[in-house]
């Protein structure tokens, strides 16, 4: 059985963010791309991650890009920050996925798709909030959380889901009172993300979303984006479909706006 203390124990095992990343982010915050690239230049794992992500077809670059100066230059400040946050997930990613038939390659595909599509959405909604833009790559950490928390009771959970059609998120909530995004928000806190980002992540699965809040539309579109990405065939085949069950009904116009924006 999963309890709140299981989650707290899990959070306590999560390593802090490496100093080099913190330093890189502070340079990006000061709009000093050159220094930011210099800082990460010596971190070979990070350079490999960076080039793997930006050379995905969804970014649309025709030539392979390897040098961090070049990568940061092409991406711009905001996208560079997004990708650095995405790198945080590598700190907790399992070597081998056991609950889901997933892989680190698929995980990075998901991260890339989220970055590109989320940027399209924010542009469409005319939202220029750096925090909101930056936190998107942290969201797939919810998948890792799910993989790690359910690992010990995998067999039971999969059979329960078969008989009840309950989403993983709902199962976690019933067992511990936390949604997967609540746990992701706790990780964001540990990694010293600011309060706005922590609150934004919690709102994703909240059913107390205020229609008049300026967070309403971005959250709705983000839920649609998560639903959309989780419906991709490689995700369904991995057993991750039906990961969340957003109880809120979507407005038909929002759905059409979203689909024409993303699936074109």
């Amino acid at each position: 059985m999963l309890t709140n203390s299981t989650i707290e124990n899990y959070i306590s095992t999560i390593p802090p963010v490496p100093k080099v990343m913190k330093s890189c982010l502070s340079h990006l915050d000061a709009a000093d791309m050159m220094q930011a690239a210099n800082v990460v230049k010596e971190d070979k794992t990070f350079i490999l991650f960076l080039s793997k992500i930006v050379n995905k077809p969804i970014f649309g670059f025709t030539k392979e890009i390897k040098d961090p100066h070049q990568i940061f230059g092409i991406l711009g400040l905001d996208s560079a920050k997004q990708i650095i946050y995405g790198y945080y997930s590598l700190l907790i990613i399992p070597k081998k996925w056991e609950v889901f038939d997933f892989s680190n390659k698929k995980f990075q595909n998901l991260q890339s798709n989220l970055i590109v599509n989320w940027n399209k959405i924010l542009d469409f909604l005319n939202i220029d909030d750096k925090d909101m833009r930056a936190c998107i790559t942290l969201l797939p950490a919810a998948l890792i959380v799910c993989e790690m928390l359910f690992r010990d009771i995998k067999g039971t959970i999969l059979l329960l889901r078969e008989s009840k059609q309950t989403s993983f998120d709902e199962l976690l909530f019933k067992m511990s009172g936390n949604t997967l995004f609540d746990v992701t928000s706790k990780i964001a806190k540990k990694w010293e993300f600011n309060k706005n980002i922590q609150d934004f992540i919690t709102l994703i699965s909240s059913n107390k979303l205020d229609k008049n809040s300026n967070m309403y539309r971005p959250i709705i579109f983000l839920r649609l984006l998560i639903s959309y990405e989780m419906s991709k065939s490689y995700v369904i085949q991995s057993g991750l479909n039906d990961f969340f069950d957003f109880s809120l009904k979507f407005d038909e116009n929002d759905i059409l706006d979203f689909y024409s924006l993303i699936a074109k």
Binding site: M1, S163, S231, I236, N241
Partner: protein, 459 residues
């Protein structure tokens, strides 16, 4: 995406978006194989968690469902949608729909499966009068009381007077085949078309035998939709009745009218102890059937001792049970004693008991006894917060099924192929002891939160 099988209905639950990119992984070739092997009465895709669909995605799913319908004559379509989605699907397919649309999963089970609503009246509305009749006929066939609304205005005005209503639905084609369902602890076999030597050959005798083993006493063959029964079909039914008599099994047949069967065969059937009823309603009106099905325990003449083969699976059964209980209760389970003996229990605490038949490479009975408080703890994830006793029993049945599935998986990895029957749930241990009738098996006593849990495996 694996389909979920509920009372002879295969259901797919996709979520999010359905389009040309992902439709082929919703119903895969592997899923089709499984469906063709299990031959369900209906195959439906639930749109409950679907946010958006386009024509390409839906057309693919329809194509696969119609293929399956051709192969196993199942009732196919979509369920769980709102009014907008209903009209959208009709428009997508230019109102030329060869599959069915049923507005919710609950209502789907009025058309197939085991939904109990004989006592309720259902009001129907459909714009198209042919559809109105189709829906009504399909429900009447299932013994529901149906009222058809004249028009939308009439429907809106009178719907509040009825317990249930059907609207925004469409019937494609309802060619159903033989199905099995359980009501009030009675197994009902629904028969269709011809009852002949093919029926005898295809009848799942293993399922029937194991259902007897786990304590089902009354079996009803609903022959209301049968065209005719010949001598081979009649002989098979009489043999089934005579064989079952030793275990105190009663067989009834409903709707056996003289046009369907020769009088001499009816006499043979009656001589074999089979009771005949005009229809299923009159069968259930006979209170002795329900009473017997729920109280009568099997009177086994032969006492079969547990053998080494059965004992060899005990570690896997224990492991699957303990792991599931610990995972769902957050309490450790302590094994106290293991003995070869009759099923016994310590005190008069309130219990929930499930009995499952295991069959295939080996035949045995698996009994799981839990004090009610522990059962509530392990089942809480399967129930709403303010659950009723009936919900608790259903949840305990699902929980037992999860353990059964785990045992199947574990043994499969050791190349032992078994199947399990549906669990029969009791809340009086004395009934189960009566049912076991002094059988010697292996009993393992556990303690969880100072309360009793008993696992009993017998032949």
């Amino acid at each position: 995406m694996k389909p979920v099988f509920k009372n002879s209905v295969a259901l797919f639950y996709p979520s999010g978006f359905i389009d040309g990119e992902n439709a082929s992984v919703i119903i895969t070739g592997l899923d089709e194989k499984e469906i063709l092997a299990k031959k369900p009465e209906a195959i439906f895709v639930s749109l409950k968690k679907v946010v958006f669909f386009n024509k390409k995605g839906m057309a693919y799913l329809v194509d696969r469902m119609l293929f399956l319908k051709d192969k196993c004559a199942a009732f196919v379509g979509f369920c769980d949608y709102d009014k907008k989605k209903f009209h959208l699907i009709q428009e997508l397919f230019s109102h030329d729909i060869s599959f069915s649309l049923i507005q919710s999963e609950d209502i789907l089970f009025w058309f197939c499966g085991t939904k109990k609503s004989e006592e309720k009246e259902i009001i129907i509305y459909a714009k198209d009068s042919e559809q109105k009749n189709q829906l009504a006929m399909a429900l009447i066939e299932r013994k529901h009381k149906v009222v058809i609304s004249k028009d939308r205005e009439d429907f809106e005005k009178t719907r509040k007077n009825y317990d249930f209503m059907v609207e925004n639905s469409h019937i494609g084609s309802m060619e159903k085949k033989v199905s099995v369902f359980i009501k009030n602890n009675i197994i009902i076999y629904t028969l269709k078309s011809f009852i002949d030597s093919d029926f005898a050959k295809d009848f799942n005798t293993k399922y029937h035998r194991n259902a007897i083993k786990v304590g089902f006493r009354i079996f009803c063959f609903n022959a209301e939709d049968v065209s005719s029964i010949n001598i081979h079909g009649a002989n098979f039914l009489t043999k089934l009745s005579i064989d079952g008599a030793e275990d105190g099994v009663s067989i009834a047949i409903c709707g056996l009218k003289s046009g369907k069967i020769a009088q001499i065969l009816i006499n043979d059937i009656e001589d074999a102890g089979i009771i005949l009823y005009d229809n299923l309603i009159s069968f259930f009106e006979d209170e002795t059937n329900v009473h017997q099905a729920n109280l009568e325990a099997r009177k086994m003449l032969k006492k079969i001792k547990i053998d080494r083969k059965t004992i060899s699976i005990l570690p896997d059964v224990i492991d699957s049970t303990v792991h599931t209980v610990e995972a769902l209760s957050d309490n450790s389970v302590e094994k106290r004693t293991v003995n070869i003996q009759e099923l016994i229990h310590g005190d008069d605490a309130k219990y929930l008991i499930s009995i499952m038949g295991i069959y295939g490479d080996m035949d045995c009975i698996f009994v799981l006894v839990m004090e009610e408080n522990v059962a509530k703890e392990v089942c809480k994830i399967l129930m709403s917060e303010d659950f009723t006793q009936e919900e608790l029993k259903d949840a305990y049945s699902e929980f037992s099924n999860v353990i059964g599935s785990k045992v199947i998986q574990k043994l499969k990895s050791k190349h032992i192929n078994i199947e399990t029957t549906m669990p029969r749930i009791f809340d009086k241990i004395s009934e189960v002891i009566k049912l076991e009738n002094g059988h010697i098996g292996v009993q393992v006593n556990f303690k969880i939160q100072k309360q009793d849990m008993i696992l009993f495996l017998s032949k």
